[in-house]
Symmetry: C2
Subunit: 569 residues, 2 copies
């Protein structure tokens, strides 16, 4: 990986002919980011202006430290939801404590991501199955949409959980605020369908302008439409947030979740964009970039950020060549903070809610569960359970249940794996190749050996399937008459631990006592190393290390022949 | 498995010529069990007599329901320690609440074991690695020995944890009660070495008799030697124990731990004994036997029991032919309760402590950690971490940490597995076999293909190593010049999940776009099924399903030849 110490790697080899494209991309993203930033701030339970704070220097920080050229960092829906879920349990949304905790949360997330990056911890996200992420994302998107419902309906809700929210809405439909609903629905319609017939227009900006104008001109504020109101002008002043230690501890699980989920979303986007350019991204370098970015967000009284999908795609499409595009975006947002905040006074909250809903609706993936169900049901189950846990138990328990369940499935399948009874294909059938053995259940033409049982356990052997192997072998031997020996094909055994190896040796010993010839074939290098350290080269040199099944079978036959010769003599 | 409904399977086909041997075995075990029962009761924080209660009908219950012929059920050191550790947090040892909770705990353990047995849950113990069990047992043995120290020294200790106990003992060595220490040491000496020069004598009985006599005759009681005192005569009266619901809930983790650890110890003993007789035990049947046994213990105001190693060995050695031996043992213990309890009045507690220490000292396994370290360090690490966690954090956290760590190691190795770059052995070298490909690092004579990279990932493919595979392939392709294609040997891929399969297909697609010929060989049946359900038979019929590497390579060469032909044309 490029050393974490080379800052802004793109800067040294910057080609100034790229500047116009970086400029255009930065501008395009800024136009999208200003409204989205305020909207996601609202989703996170923060004042809209903090969403703009989060869209300034944090972007520069990533540009300096990160490795992806087109990744657009900033407030993102799911991270904002996690932020809200984590902090709202400790403080009143919008209150001073809430803001302080949001800053602290960003600092914790940044610290965790930096630490993970320095420790090469990026690999850990491998344990987040795509099935789990898909279920989590779909459920989180629905939770987010429901959380915005009251902004669209125009009356505050008591309920906080998805189901109660729906019930309360049905109960209080009468209280719907018509102008608010109208604005929200119109905005939603524009955002979801507008791209079709007006592809060149930046829809988020359009709905913000139209919404603000309609409120200002029609005086909808008096008609009860909630507006953003005064947005303080000026850049955020750097300051370290303060909060009681116990609150900080209580935030730790949330920080950990955001550090991983945020990184996962970001790295997925960065990878897919890099792939299109035939480039690669360095996971650990990404962690450093996001970590620094969150540390900066923390001291700017903002909230956690990450690389978002939609804006990054736009950034890439608009031709971003380097981190400079993000720097341009950040400068434009700062300009907005300095000069344009008065324009947002009449911006209706319903418009921001519509922006959020429009952004997350695309995250609900209805096809994936069915595809997984068709391919392998266990994976569809992981997705479904993660979805249900996230929707009904909450975002943090949801992701934990998902990870646990998906790993449990893998462990279960490894502990009780498939085993094949092998037969040999006639060399002619194997067309060209010879000495080809196959599972007799799948290749009926494969002939089993008359006096030897040939088994192929299809799993790495470890403590959890050591007993299983004994049972399988004993059953296989009991199932046939006149068996004089056993050959175990280890070609599918990729790894073995000391426990399983000892249990295998015991088995060989016991079968030997029963007068059976036991031979092992196709042992792989790593397995052979473990066996060698356990002294097998001395104890089982002539039985355990046959290169091929043919040779193991030949050896067993020879040994049987010798026995019978001595028996007759 | 023999249906759980056929009770006392040994009874129907009982051969009365076996009776003398069952009688002798039953007697021998009873002589051992009476003192041990009282000793383990003391260890569990229970009055000694309850150890005798636990040694009556619970044994009969197992004989009726269990499947092992020689397993001797009853109080056992580690289960007694778990009982003490679990309940002493909720009630004062020896008090009425403590007794009630012990009964409830036995009922819970029995219920859990019965449930597991009916649900065929016996397989779950597979996830307890032998390395973990070894580390846990050694640490628990030390904790038990330390818990008995104050009985041997003759003064009560304030400290409860291992390390504080040691410190307090060193601080208060002056308060040692000489007669008590003398009795204890003498008993320990007899128990540990006596078998050598007096193999025929039942040492536990001997030390109990000698200890009791010396106290009675020398009046050591006045000299400060603590004695068992009045042991109530008569059989236990069946009764349902009562306790507040929250206490019951608090006991659940302990019940779960005992249900598993007790079963694990028991099944291990039963299996090793059955193996010597060329028999097999049914794990689920054993669970039913132990479960019923614990339910009975619960209503006899006793505490959890299981099949113990030492007494079972003695039972088997003495020639036990059937469960009748256990019935005999139970009857003799009842006889003791009815007639002999007055004899235990002067029995010194130091003798019971010596019995416990002598029993557990053999459980400390010093060789295993070194053996594992030699064979595979990760397993030695599991053992060591389990040992430390059990010794310093306590028995229940210890076993949890051990299970988690051992599974984490397996997951980690599966997520970042070994991959081999393959070369072909000349048919002559492969002596007889042909088409033999091997890891070039281990078989330098194996020749790599001039234009194709041949890789063999040694792992089941699942979500956690999907990204790893992409990286490995990309690195392997980048490492060589003039590569025109890739052949992946799937013979080591035992299982695949939908996530990894999709990622593999993406990889094939991207490499195809880069103009590389990608072929897969040796796909196993179960993997092929998943691929087929994902539509690979339609999309990749001619690339993904080659039977052997030779054929995959031939196909790739042919495709390359065709390309060049068309290229030239």
């Amino acid at each position: 990986m490029s050393s974490p110490l080379t800052l802004a790697p793109w800067l040294s080899r910057y080609d100034r002919r790229d500047f116009p494209r970086d400029l255009l991309a930065g501008l395009t993203v800024a136009v999208m980011l200003v409204p989205q930033g305020m909207a996601y701030a609202m989703l996170a339970g923060m004042p809209p202006v903090t969403g703009l704070y989060a869209s300034t220097l944090p972007l520069v920080a990533y540009a300096v430290m990160g490795s992806s050229r087109a990744l657009a960092v900033g407030p993102v829906a799911i991270v904002s939801l996690l932020t809200f879920a984590g902090i709202s349990a400790l403080a009143e949304p919008g209150g001073a404590d809430f803001l302080a905790l949001a800053g602290i949360l960003a600092l914790m997330v940044g610290g965790l991501q930096l630490g993970l990056g320095l420790l090469r911890g990026g690999v850990l996200v491998a344990f987040l199955s795509h099935a789990v992420v898909s279920g989590f994302t779909s459920a989180a998107a629905l939770v987010i949409a429901l959380s915005q419902l009251h902004h669209l309906l125009g009356f505050p809700l008591v309920a906080k959980e998805p189901v109660p929210i729906l019930l309360e809405v049905f109960r209080r439909l009468g209280e719907v605020q018509p102008w608010t609903l109208l604005l929200g629905m119109a905005a939603l319609l524009l955002l979801l369908t507008g791209r079709r017939w007006l592809p060149r227009l930046p829809m988020p900006l359009v709905v913000v302008v139209l919404g603000t104008l309609s409120v200002a001109l029609l005086g909808l504020e008096q008609a009860g439409v909630r507006i953003v109101g005064a947005v303080p002008a000026g850049l955020p002043r750097p300051a370290l947030p303060h909060a009681p230690a116990e609150a900080v501890w209580a935030l730790f699980p949330t920080a950990l979740t955001i550090a991983f989920i945020g990184f996962l979303e970001s790295i997925a986007v960065a990878r897919s964009l890099a792939a299109r350019d035939g480039e690669r991204v360095d996971a650990d370098r990404e962690l450093l970039g996001l970590g620094l970015s969150n540390l900066v967000a923390g001291v700017l009284s903002a909230f956690p950020v990450t690389g978002g999908f939609s804006r990054s795609a736009v950034n890439h499409q608009a031709g971003a060549r380097s981190g400079l595009a993000s720097v341009v975006t950040a400068l434009l947002v700062m300009l907005t903070l300095l000069a344009l905040t008065p324009l947002f006074y009449h911006l209706p909250q319903a418009i921001l809610a519509a922006l959020v809903v429009a952004a997350v609706i695309g995250l609900v993936d209805l096809r994936e569960p069915f595809r997984l169900w068709r391919v392998r049901r266990a994976d569809a189950l992981s997705l479904g359970i993660t979805f249900l846990a996230t929707f009904f138990l909450g975002v943090e328990p949801g992701i934990l249940v998902g990870i646990g369940f998906s790993l449990a499935i893998f462990l279960w399948r490894s502990a009780f794996p498939h085993v094949a009874i092998m037969g040999r294909l006639a060399d002619s059938e194997a067309s060209g190749a010879c000495g080809v053995w196959r599972n007799v259940l799948r290749h009926p033409q494969a002939r089993v050996h008359p006096r030897l049982v040939v088994l192929r356990p299809d799993a790495s052997l470890y403590f959890a399937n050591a007993t299983w192997l004994r049972d399988v072998v004993e059953r296989a031997l009991a199932a046939r008459q006149g068996v004089a020996g056993l050959v175990i094909d280890l070609s599918a055994v990729n790894d073995v631990d000391a426990v399983a190896l000892e249990s295998l040796e015991e088995l060989m010993h016991e079968l030997g006592l029963q007068g059976l010839e036991v031979h092992l074939a196709g042992m792989k290098g790593p397995v052979g190393d473990v066996a060698a350290r356990a002294g097998w080269r001395e104890r089982h040199a002539e039985r355990a290390f046959h290169l091929t099944l043919d040779r193991a079978v030949a050896a067993a036959e020879a040994a049987l022949a010798r026995r019978e010769a001595t028996g007759r003599a």
